[in-house]
C-alpha cells in the first residue's frame, strides 16, 4: 500500500504542493535571517505578515492592481519593521517580548481593519501562474517548477540573492560583524544602529511580502488570522537553517514537503491515523532542529541590545 506513494502522480503532487507551501516561509524566513544575523530577534513576523496580507488584499480589492497591492504590502511591512526597530534598537526593549507585542498588534490591527473595512470573507483575482517559455515545456518537471505565480518565483530567486548579499558584499559583512561583535564593528566605524535598523525594516518588508504571497497569490482571500502561525514557523526555520539563506530554503522545503506528503498519505487512504499524519512535519522539524543546533551556533550578539561604552 505504501507503494502507492511512489507513483509519478503523487511524487509530482508532493513537489508542487511543497514548492507552493514553502513560499511564505522563504520570504519571512530570509527577512528574519538578516535581522537575526545583525543581532535582532523579531518574533513579530507573524503580525507583520498579517498586516502585509491585509494591505495587499484590500488594495487589490479596491484597485484591481496587483503591483500596487504588492507595493502597499511592502510599505506596510516596512512600517511595522521600522516600529519594531525603534522599540528594540532605540528604546532597547527586550527583543523577545517586544516581538510578541508586535505579533499581537499585527493580529489585532489586521482583524480590526478586516472587520471595519470588509466585514466579510471575499476573494480577489490574484497573481496567476506564469509558464516560463521553454523551461515549462520540460517533460514532467517543467510544469512543476516553471508554471507558478510570480511571487513563488520571487521567493526562490531571493535565496541566492540573499546568500550573495550576506556573504559577498560589504553590507553583508557589516550585518555579520554587527551580529557577532557589535563593539568591534562600532570601533571600526560601522553604525550598529543603522545596520540593525536596515535589517529589521528589511525583515518587515519581506514579512509583508510573505503575507501578500498568501492573500494575493496563493490563496487570494483574506480572513482573520490568515497566517495561522506561519510566521512563527518561519522564525523557527531561521534557527533550523543555521542563519543562512540556503539553510532556510532547505528547512522550508523539508517542512513543506513533509506537510504535502501527509496530505497525500491521507488522500491515498494509507492506514495511518490522521492525527499522526498531521504531526509528521512538526516531529521531523524538531528532530532536524536538534541535529542542526548542535552543528551551528547562533550569532553571538543575538537578542543583545547595543550600548556604546565610554
Amino acid at each position: 500500500m505504501i507503494g502507492e506513494l511512489f507513483t509519478a502522480q503523487v511524487l509530482l503532487g508532493i513537489l508542487t504542493s511543497g514548492i507552493r507551501l514553502a513560499t511564505p516561509y522563504l520570504y519571512a524566513g530570509i527577512g528574519e535571517t538578516f535581522g537575526q544575523r545583525s543581532g535582532v530577534l523579531n518574533l513579530g513576523v507573524e503580525g507583520q505578515m498579517l498586516v502585509g496580507a491585509f494591505a495587499a488584499f484590500y488594495t487589490v480589492r479596491q484597485t484591481g492592481n496587483l503591483w500596487l497591492g504588492l507595493l502597499v504590502a511592502i510599505l506596510a511591512g516596512a512600517l511595522m519593521g521600522l516600529a519594531m526597530a525603534f522599540v528594540s534598537i532605540t528604546l532597547r526593549a527586550k527583543q523577545g517580548i517586544s516581538g510578541i507585542g508586535f505579533f499581537l498588534f499585527g493580529l489585532g490591527l489586521s482583524d480590526l481593519l478586516f472587520q471595519t473595512m470588509l466585514g466579510t470573507v471575499e476573494t480577489v483575482s490574484g497573481f496567476r501562474p506564469v509558464a516560463i517559455p521553454l523551461l515549462s515545456a520540460i517533460p514532467v518537471f517543467g510544469p512543476v517548477f516553471f508554471n507558478q505565480n510570480l511571487l513563488v518565483y520571487g521567493a526562490y530567486l531571493l535565496v541566492p540573492v540573499a546568500a550573495f548579499v550576506m556573504n559577498r558584499t560589504t553590507f553583508g559583512l557589516k550585518v555579520r560583524a554587527v551580529g557577532e561583535t557589535p563593539e568591534a564593528a562600532d570601533s571600526l566605524g560601522v553604525s550598529v544602529t543603522r545596520v540593525r535598523y536596515i535589517t529589521v525594516t528589511m525583515g518587515g518588508v519581506f514579512s509583508g511580502l510573505a503575507g501578500a504571497s498568501l492573500s494575493i497569490a496563493l490563496l487570494n482571500v483574506f480572513q482573520q488570522n490568515l497566517t495561522s502561525g506561519l510566521g512563527f514557523i518561519a522564525v523557527a526555520l531561521v534557527y533550523f537553517g543555521g542563519w543562512r539563506p540556503w539553510g532556510v530554503l532547505a528547512g522550508a522545503l523539508l517542512f513543506s514537503m513533509v506537510n504535502a506528503l501527509q496530505l497525500w498519505v491521507q488522500v491515498l487512504g494509507l492506514p495511518i491515523p490522521s492525527e499522526f499524519a498531521v504531526m509528521m512535519p512538526y516531529v521531523l522539524t524538531i528532530v532536524a532542529l536538534v541535529v542542526a543546533v548542535q552543528r551551528v551556533r547562533p550569532p553571538t550578539a543575538l537578542t543583545k541590545s547595543f550600548v556604546r561604552e565610554g
Binding site: G13, S228, L263
Partner: protein, 330 residues
C-alpha cells in the same frame, strides 16, 4: 515617568469602575451574550450562531426588547472563560458558549451563577448529572445534511473521486464528514471519497493545499467543513471543481462552482431556550437541530444549474431522512 504610570493606572481603574457601574443597572431588555471561537463572519460555525442571533432579535421585537453582544475569536479557552464569567457577572440573562471546547469552563462557571442560564454546544451534555441545573446543551445533527450533500456530490462527479477537506477528526466535523461519506457510498458505490484532516480549524494555506491534493488525485467535486475551507473554495474556483458547503452559505465566495450548502439555523432552539427560561427553567435540557425541525436545511445556489433529477433526488433524500426511511447513524 512614574507620575505618568500612576496617572495611567488611576485612569484605567476609573474606567473599569465606571464601566462596571454603567452595565450593572437593571433593564427590562432580554440580554444575551455569545462567545465564539472564530469571527462572526467566518462563513462557517461562528457565523451560524451570529446569523441566528440576528433572527432571534427580530423575532423578539428588535434591539429595544432584545439585546445581544458577541465576543469573537475566543480561540483561547481561558480567554473565553474570562469572557463568560464577565458576562455572567454583568447579569446577562443567557450566556452562550458556542464551541465544544468550552465545556470545562462552562462546568466551572455555571454553578457560581445559579440565577443565570448558560447554553453551550455542540454537545448533549448539560452537566445535569453533576447537579448543575442552569446549563442547556445544543448540537447539530450535521451528518444528516452531510448525507444529502454526499448524495449530491455522488451524482455530480464524473471522475468518481470526491474530495473532502476537514479540520480535526472530532465533534461536528467528524459527524458531517461521516454522513457525507455514507451519502456518497449509498448513492454511487463506484465513487471514492478522499478525506484530508489538516489538523487545524484556521490554517487556510494548508486547507488550500489539501484541496490541491484532492484535485491532483482526480477529484471533480469537493466539500469541507470549518472556517479554514475558504482556502479550499478558492482552489476549487480556480480549477473549476464543484464545491458543496456546510454550516453557513459559502455561495458568495464562488457563485459559479458552489452547488448547495447545508445551513445551520440555531434560531429555533434559541427561541425554545428563551421560552423555557421565561417559564422558569434555566437549564438541564439538550437540543438538536435536524432536517426535521428545520434547524438544518439545504440552500441551493440559484446561479448554479443543478440538473433537475439531482435536485429531486436530494429533496427526496431530505424527506426520507425526516420520515425515518433513511437513518443516518451519528
Amino acid at each position: 515617568m512614574r507620575k505618568f504610570v500612576k496617572l495611567l493606572s488611576v485612569l484605567v481603574l476609573l474606567t473599569m469602575v465606571m464601566s462596571a457601574c454603567g452595565r450593572g443597572g437593571t433593564s427590562d431588555k432580554f440580554r444575551v451574550a455569545v462567545v465564539t471561537p472564530s469571527a462572526r463572519n467566518d462563513l462557517a460555525f461562528s457565523q451560524s450562531i451570529y446569523d441566528a442571533m440576528v433572527k432571534v432579535q427580530a423575532a423578539k421585537g428588535g434591539p429595544d426588547k432584545f439585546e445581544f453582544v458577541i465576543s469573537e475569536n475566543m480561540f483561547v479557552v481561558d480567554d473565553a472563560g474570562a469572557a463568560i464569567r464577565d458576562y455572567a457577572s454583568q447579569g446577562y440573562d443567557l450566556v452562550i458558549a458556542h464551541g465544544s471546547q468550552y465545556g470545562g469552563v462552562m462546568q466551572e462557571i455555571a454553578p457560581d451563577f445559579p440565577k443565570i442560564s448558560f447554553a453551550w454546544g455542540t454537545t448533549v451534555d448539560t452537566f445535569a448529572e453533576k447537579g448543575i441545573k442552569n446549563v442547556f446543551a445544543y448540537e447539530a445533527r450535521s451528518e444528516q445534511g452531510g448525507y444529502v450533500n454526499g448524495v449530491i456530490a455522488a451524482q455530480l462527479t464524473k471522475s468518481n473521486v470526491v474530495g473532502v477537506v476537514g479540520p480535526i477528526e472530532t465533534g461536528d466535523a467528524k459527524l458531517y464528514v461521516d454522513g457525507f461519506i455514507a451519502g456518497v457510498n449509498a448513492s454511487n458505490p463506484g465513487a471514492r471519497v478522499t478525506v484530508n484532516w489538516i489538523g487545524s480549524f484556521s490554517d487556510v494555506a494548508l486547507a488550500s493545499e489539501a484541496a490541491q491534493t484532492h484535485i491532483g488525485a482526480g477529484a471533480d467535486v469537493m466539500a469541507g467543513t470549518a472556517q479554514m475551507v475558504v482556502g479550499a473554495i478558492g482552489v476549487a474556483k480556480d480549477n473549476n471543481v464543484l464545491w458543496i458547503g456546510t454550516q453557513a452559505s459559502q455561495t458568495a465566495l464562488a457563485p459559479d462552482i458552489v452547488v448547495a450548502n447545508q445551513i445551520y439555523d440555531w434560531s429555533g432552539i434559541i427561541l425554545e431556550i428563551i421560552d423555557l427560561m421565561e417559564k422558569g427553567t434555566l437549564g438541564g435540557q439538550a437540543f438538536e437541530i435536524t432536517l426535521a425541525n428545520k434547524g438544518l436545511y439545504l440552500e441551493y445556489n440559484a446561479a448554479f444549474n443543478l440538473p433537475a433529477d439531482v435536485r429531486q433526488l436530494a429533496d427526496k433524500t431530505v424527506q426520507d431522512i425526516i420520515s425515518g426511511a433513511i437513518v443516518v447513524a451519528p
